[in-house]
Assembly symmetry: C2
Homo-oligomer: 766 residues x 2
Amino acid sequence: MTNYVTIDEWNIIEEGLHLDNNRIYESIMSIGNGKMGIRGNFEEDFTGDSLKGTYIAGVYYPDKTRVGWWKNGYPEYFAKVINAADFIGIKVELNGENLDLAKSKVCEFKRTLNMKNGYLLRSFVVEDTSNNKFKIEVKRFLSMARSEIGAISYSITPIDNDATISFTPYLNGDISNEDSNYDEKFWNVINKNVDSTLGHLTLKTKKLDFEVTTAMKYNLFIDGSEIEFSPALQIEEKFVANKLSTPVKAGSTITIFKYVAVTSSRYYEKENLTLKAYELVKEASKIGFEELLQEHSNKWAQIWNEGDIVIDGDPSAEQAIRFNIFQLNQTYTGEDSRLNIGPKGFTGEKYGGSTYWDTEAYCIPFYLSTREAAIAKNLLIYRYNQLDKAKENAAKLGLKGALYPMVTMNGEECHNEWEITFEEIHRNAAIPYAIFNYVNYTGDEAYLAEYGLDVLVETSRFWASRATYNKFKDKYMILGVTGPNEYENNVNNNWYTNTMATWNLKYTIKVIELLKDKYSAEYKNLENKLNLKAEEIEQWKDVINKMYFPYSEELGIFLQQDGYLDKEQILVKDLSPENLPLNQKWSWDRILRSCFIKQADVLQGLYLLDDKFSVEVKKRNFDFYEQRTVHESSLSPCIHSIIAAEVGYEDKAYDLYLRTARLDLDNYNNDTVDGLHITSMAGTWMSIVHGFGGLRIKDNTLSLNPFIPKAWTKYSFKVLFRNHLIKVSVSASNITLEQQNGETFSLLVKNKRYTIHENETITINK
Amino acid sequence: MTNYVTIDEWNIIEEGLHLDNNRIYESIMSIGNGKMGIRGNFEEDFTGDSLKGTYIAGVYYPDKTRVGWWKNGYPEYFAKVINAADFIGIKVELNGENLDLAKSKVCEFKRTLNMKNGYLLRSFVVEDTSNNKFKIEVKRFLSMARSEIGAISYSITPIDNDATISFTPYLNGDISNEDSNYDEKFWNVINKNVDSTLGHLTLKTKKLDFEVTTAMKYNLFIDGSEIEFSPALQIEEKFVANKLSTPVKAGSTITIFKYVAVTSSRYYEKENLTLKAYELVKEASKIGFEELLQEHSNKWAQIWNEGDIVIDGDPSAEQAIRFNIFQLNQTYTGEDSRLNIGPKGFTGEKYGGSTYWDTEAYCIPFYLSTREAAIAKNLLIYRYNQLDKAKENAAKLGLKGALYPMVTMNGEECHNEWEITFEEIHRNAAIPYAIFNYVNYTGDEAYLAEYGLDVLVETSRFWASRATYNKFKDKYMILGVTGPNEYENNVNNNWYTNTMATWNLKYTIKVIELLKDKYSAEYKNLENKLNLKAEEIEQWKDVINKMYFPYSEELGIFLQQDGYLDKEQILVKDLSPENLPLNQKWSWDRILRSCFIKQADVLQGLYLLDDKFSVEVKKRNFDFYEQRTVHESSLSPCIHSIIAAEVGYEDKAYDLYLRTARLDLDNYNNDTVDGLHITSMAGTWMSIVHGFGGLRIKDNTLSLNPFIPKAWTKYSFKVLFRNHLIKVSVSASNITLEQQNGETFSLLVKNKRYTIHENETITINK
């Protein structure tokens, strides 16, 4: 494995310029604030290999589907988050020569992502062709305090000789997506302007009519004193810029501050977009770069205070887990229930920035434990608001109730592989599970009456109609599905799917009972609105009672699907290494025919329905399936790690944790160029907190069961649980709990109950 | 159902011009001679809806694959037969006005495909804008006697007034495929010329470097006397033409004869293409149109003499079966073992003109019984020559032996749907089956030593490695396949596949024994060359002995696949009509989950391995599966029809026969615009000869078991069997056999043996 970044507990550092791997660093150095994000591109011109990427949350494009062989029911489009106007651009001329790090002589190059304060810093020394040296330092951030604002400070110091330096801050609307299916451009520029200190571009998408205004304002300082300038204005078809040119003495530093405001029609009336963007950018410029950075850093301090994980004795692990927490918080901030978490966040174009079941299965636990409840709740409401589309989707397949899409932007299905789009239906239980998870964690039962039951009832209706009654066996079966393990397609009775479908039906009935009891007025309304009849619930009970679950008596394990044991049984350890990764080395049918598993499937069920299965059952299934799992999804090792931890395989748990901990920082799967694995980052967090820390919620009580991996001397994590902020520290000898905020309450540690007061610290010897 | 064509026993007639359905008529009126084909396009300019189509056998293009989600192992390209230079073109001006049937006033329009003599005739009366009337008659054919030659006669008679008429015969190389994946053009023009009576274009494909020269020559006659002319030459980038203009008296007829020669680098050295084309076209012109047509008609007379089917009392059925026989003979003439039969022949672009298992399963029986043995043999040698590519294909999937491609032009797999490309492997037994069929029919056992065994051994090796040994059940299973019924994908133990694989292994062993015995010297060489060891054959026997076949004891039927009975069992008759056809009305997953069958699957096996199953077994399986089969493949009803005939369901057999008999003539599936269903035409022939006629070969003896559908008064078919030409006539009261050619031999009728001499007629009362 190559070491891409320098190990540092709070910073991600590229030392020296790596032109060949620039796209990897661009992905890693992405910054975002939940409303927008930028890859770690350079501000000045760069002719080397680069994926320019600027993305605005919620602004997407329905790109025409590309497919080899059309199947009935495929969607007409694939929605993708789109590359928006480039607003970081500042062309630089040093003594009349255009700066381009792909061509210039560069030394002392360092690109640093500062995670503590949330900014990207770049510093280097460059020579012009007459060997004049310049020291350059560039810092930028997208404000967590003001979600429309970004700011850049670009400083140049001529080292040996006086120089003429020019800056051309610009906005560029001539951008496209690399992954456009038919090389279409997605934007039209509908208005633009530039004057001596201000400029803007307003772009409109060619379909759906999203509009986005990007406005810029700039000031120039030499050695801290603002200077006047009279720029040359440039307006082109999709481009506005100002060129500022000035002499600078050797040893003096010239700095341009470029402030940017991005307003979109998701948040403002179209006719106000430009005005608002100007208003915001002027205000930002008035506040100034340093003060904006300070309020931004304060937001990060709060995030770290509630969600940091500290690992003593392993700075590489420390760096990795902070990177994951940092990126998750950059991607989703939870104020807007129309937004969700794309698998790559704002760090690349792959997977189109759409919503997958990753959100429910991996991300919600992270946000539940590290941020206030409202944030996870908004992720639930996102799906609640898309219930009607999910009902249309089920109807399209000839089924009742609601089927949530595999991939979506606005609730409509976007994916077009039949074995996934139509068959990977287990996703439809992940959404009810997230409701359960949220209510179980927060205790917010009112959610069920306000939003939850609608989703539970419609997903239950789907399952009841999707299950096939088999009169020969007097059982219900779920035929023709793809489970979480996408290395099997179109199988019958995937255990995970049957189990989660049954769980979904049971939970819905349980919630109905609860609402009848505690929210009877609301329930009456719901019963009416949803047309819920006793016969329907009876039918659900019939499905629950007669559901078929494939099981091997001989091996004492749940069978991944009906035909799993018919396959040739080989273990991963017996595969010679040239076969791996299977998804690159084997033809697809060979993968499908094999017993090898891409990602947790039966084990995913054992994890989610944790309290329904004994440690003994988990151990037997883990022993069987882990040996057959190739973990070729970044979402897989964390689940195996958590089960391994629970059944006492501590070393194995740690080994599995390592497989994703530094996935992007070390470019482990050789795909960091495409962007970061944002949603699987939540899985790494889960490995530590649910796995090593053993966090569960049992009967409204927080329960912990920590161990410490041998490689670490001590680690600690924070948990926000129902207005209690707890810091849990674990060493080889003891476990320390500290309630940093909240009233007295009791919790379980290794199944023993402890009561803890605010600011109290309890140490438990292991 | 619309009546597209006038019923006539020897002609297909469009009466009146149908601009809206022009593409349908263009498909139906296609002509070809096995080496090239043209859709029924007009010679003169036409601005109405039209698919211009001129196709040259064996000249194809590797069009870049289009796919939504790439799977490992997919081919990089999809080979397609390509639209070649348009050589029929003759622009016509009547008193200076360009003739275009989409714009002109036309009456008495008639387009006739004469099947007896193999030409296309068009006649109509057209008016110019000054109401001058012209009678026009156009006749063309592609010579069955000279495979590079085409000829057109284009006659115009001014009816009322003298007129100026001009012809511009041309060659146009600026053509493209409508189904090009990325709107690419596939040809470059590499040289061209035109002088006063001759012209040519040489085109080269942008990939693979196929070259094709099209040369033209023309003469002009008025009332039968050749006239001199001095044409205006036109040469454009991809176009050559001559414009000939002359006054014509009222009542006189001017005729241009345009002769065309097409030479391709498949048959000639590239440097000789032009010379050869000129030589051929000059010779054709010297012979003249009428004599060329006569020798062409003589070839057709011979084909009809050996393969005609006569149906008394049902001219619509008569027309249909002759149309099928006609099109099959236009598509494949069997001299070149590098050619095969595309599902649409030369009549359209769909399915790319490539080879499918249709050839072995449907077409070979037709050619075996209607043409000399060498023709079917060349279809076998086509696959023999592609054995190395099939071995590469198996290796690519991690398997031994040879896997023939699903779709191919040159032996390489072209298809890119994983469930078909990788999983519809039953095709690999169809090729050995065709060898069996050929040897069984012709008695040519020497074929096995010369070509057959290599294919049998390598396909057997494939099956032995593809079968998975299941130690729990001590059985071999074939997992993850798509059977002939493509409405189920990725199923385990498709009965047809398991049965044919086992048959393949058994037949290989049988052939090995036969060769050891009768061709011991050749066998020794083969044993060496193929590295055949006793242990390998033992392993095949193990697979044969322990193969698993899904069976329902309860129902007494073979199960289409392991999970078939787990599906909800509904009958086609219980589906309300708005659900049909399923492939247009249901989403793909709904089709897959349903019990509905696209095409014969278990029944396909019962048909192919006819003598292995009792009538009782066939009846039980027919009763079960026919009720669940929607016949949404044109290849399906014929197989069901044959089984129905065999088990005594005569009315049902006839009903099923009707479902494809006039498929294209009546545009039954609303897809005749795409071209004709050439390979399924062989299935209709089979319905009559194998179904109604009950033709089988039993122990080297021709066996017949005829019945006559109630709707017919009498029918007869011809069979060529081992140098015997037999005419079989069937009426309600008797069966008449006539040996029209061949020595005395004996055959079975209704299991009773009869001996018949040359020119003898035997009448058997029923």
